[in-house]
């Protein structure tokens, strides 16, 4: 202890311990600085602002402290909290998207002609920017344009078709469909990855036993990828709560398509009610936070047995490997 204290700073810097401390500080200071400046400081500010009535340009001394009023407004104003109901559309869309992705992933995991081509086709929308998708679908849904033309080819009359983006009965579904179009390929690729990681011997065995594809799906594929499917269901719920891009770029929130974030964005940057917008953001963060905690509890509860199964599976694999190695060694010896 004494010796260390008497070390000069340069000596200390050259010692292992000193090097360790220097590298820790040196490697972490910039990322942590960025994390605090662009995540935690704004987060703290947001909580603070949510208690004030203010604009971006209001000088600090003129901001009015209003207590919980902004929060009460969030729940009272129809446009704020009511907008959360819209996320139910997106939840429904997300579920459809998952089923679709799972179905197509199952097909593409087995040998099909042109499988890679179809996979690429369905995945590519994920790489298109939200704004380009906005234009593509504004064009797609315009009266008498792409969608209407295709439906007319199928025998529908133009007069019977709704205005896809104006008619309040369908416009949210149109937007949800866009979101499904954009993300289902990504989900599919994810599921294909999960299905591929299942031991191929299982399929061979099932095939020998005469199991058809449907049985293989129910008894082999589904159980082995249930973790990733559940994870995606839960993620899609939090994702649906924060649905933003499609309504923002396609309809700009008009005709009752303004989701929670679209409204929040407008309140913050157009009407400059920063306090109210902050309160909205905090409320949604709380909801997402609660969802995440529930998700973790759910996982602990549902999959507490699964981990032990996993272990036995791993053990089995290890044993098989060992046996194979032993056989090889034997062959070598002979």
């Amino acid at each position: 202890m004494e010796a260390k204290k008497s070390m000069s700073p340069i000596q200390w810097a050259k010692s292992r311990k000193g090097q360790k401390a220097l590298i820790c500080v040196g490697f972490m200071i910039i990322p942590l600085l960025l994390l605090f400046v662009f995540t935690y400081f704004p987060f703290a500010e947001m909580v603070k602002f949510s208690f004030y009535k203010m604009k971006y340009t209001t000088p600090v001394e003129k901001r009015v402290f209003v207590g919980w009023k902004n929060y009460i407004d969030v729940f009272r104003r129809d446009d704020c909290f009511g907008a959360l109901k819209l996320s139910l559309f997106y939840v429904a869309g997300a579920l459809i998207q998952l089923v679709l992705a799972l179905y197509l992933a199952t097909i593409l995991s087995f040998k099909v002609k042109g499988g890679n081509f179809f996979k690429g086709l369905m995945f590519f929308p994920y790489l298109i920017s939200g704004i380009a998708i906005g234009f593509i679908f504004k064009f797609f849904y315009t009266r008498g344009f792409v969608l209407d033309t295709i439906l007319q080819w199928c025998g529908f009359e133009l007069e019977n078709l709704p205005f896809w983006l104006k008619d309040q009965a369908v416009n949210n579904w149109s937007l949800v469909a866009t979101s499904v179009w954009r993300y289902f390929g990504q989900n599919m690729v994810l599921f294909i990855g999960a299905i591929m990681s299942v031991d191929a011997e299982l399929y061979e065995a099932a095939d020998l036993d005469g199991a058809n594809k449907f049985q293989q799906f129910i008894y082999i594929i589904l159980p082995s990828i249930k973790t990733i499917v559940t994870l995606n269901i839960i993620l899609s719920i939090t994702g649906s709560l924060s649905a933003f891009e499609q309504p923002y770029v396609i309809t700009d929130g008009a005709n009752g398509t303004g989701t929670y974030f679209v409204i929040m964005n407008e309140i913050a940057h157009t009407s400059q009610k920063v306090g109210l917008a902050s309160a909205m953001a905090v409320v949604l963060l709380m909801i997402i936070f609660v969802c995440t905690i529930l998700q973790n509890l759910f996982f602990k509860y549902v999959f507490r047995d699964a981990s032990s199964e996993d272990e036995s599976y791993k053990a089995k694999k290890a044993r098989l490997k060992a046996e194979k190695a032993a056989q090889k060694a034997k062959k070598g010896a002979v």
């Binding site: 360790k20 820790c24 490697f27 990322p31 960025l34 994390l35 400046v37 662009f38 995540t39 935690y40 400081f41 704004p42 987060f43 500010e45 947001m46 602002f49 971006y56 097909i107 040998k111 002609k113 890679n116 179809f118 690429g120 086709l121 369905m122 995945f123 590519f124 994920y126 790489l127 920017s129 704004i131 380009a132 234009f135 593509i136 064009f139 797609f140 344009f145 792409v146 294909i192 990855g193 999960a194 191929a200 061979e204 095939d207 020998l208 058809n212 994870l231 924060s242 891009e245 923002y248 974030f261 929040m264 964005n265 913050a268 940057h269 920063v274 953001a281 949604l284 963060l285 995440t292």
Partner: protein
Amino acid sequence: MIKIGKKSYTPLGILWIIVEYVSLIFFGLCAVVPVVSCVITAFKTETEYQQTNVMTLPESWLNFDNFVKAFNTANMGRAFLNSVIVMVCVLVVSVILGTQLAYVLNRFKFPGNNLIRNLYLFASLLPAVAMQVTVFNIMSALHLVNTLYGYIIMMCGTDVISIYIFIQFMENIPVSLDESAIIDGASYWTIYWKIMLPLLKPAIVTSCILKGVGVYNEYYCANLYLMDKKLHTIARCLYTFVGPMGSQYNLICAGVIISLLPALIVFILCQKQIYSGIAAGAVKG
């Protein structure tokens, strides 16, 4: 691909094969029709666009006028340059910072290690759009609004996923490698630079793909922070088509297609890496 040796041609099996291909073709078409309709329209002249149905093929597939016009009117050349600058800077900086942070978090035990990990985990829960309500304030206070470097700094700061990919990958690099290097007298910097970074290459490719797609397509923050026309990135630049070109969809479609081309080329060239990148990015949940 899962290959099964024996082929069964029972009636049910044949029916299933038909169902398979019908659904593949149907959903493949669903995925591609919106984009194809855009391509068709982009090749039409003004009169053609007004007189023919949107799904009628253009008279000439060599009519590039719309592309040239869209490219020049919206100054897309400049926008591409800006996008490339932003992407290169963000990717380089976030790879360096991300790998360094992951190295420290994964290899050293110190008080606060877990706290920092949890801080990043919690940060990933905060939706970016909501955060901009107050980040906007900070950006103005730091005089970073309306500058390319300000936008770049902000994009580097919100990086959580790549750090997780790096940490996960590093867990599979044996510590004995570090130890033997230390015995040989290597400093921690040398270990990071000469051992870790080269071994992390696959993880770096993955994170660059995920981050690259995100940065190239990002327009919400670009819209907030890059007002000056000279600073527009490609996604932000597309946004300007709303105003002056109104409903001239033949021009808008041409602009959209131009903005898609780089993504399409990269996708065709590195499909495999992109697919595995998506799978790896999802594991962190």
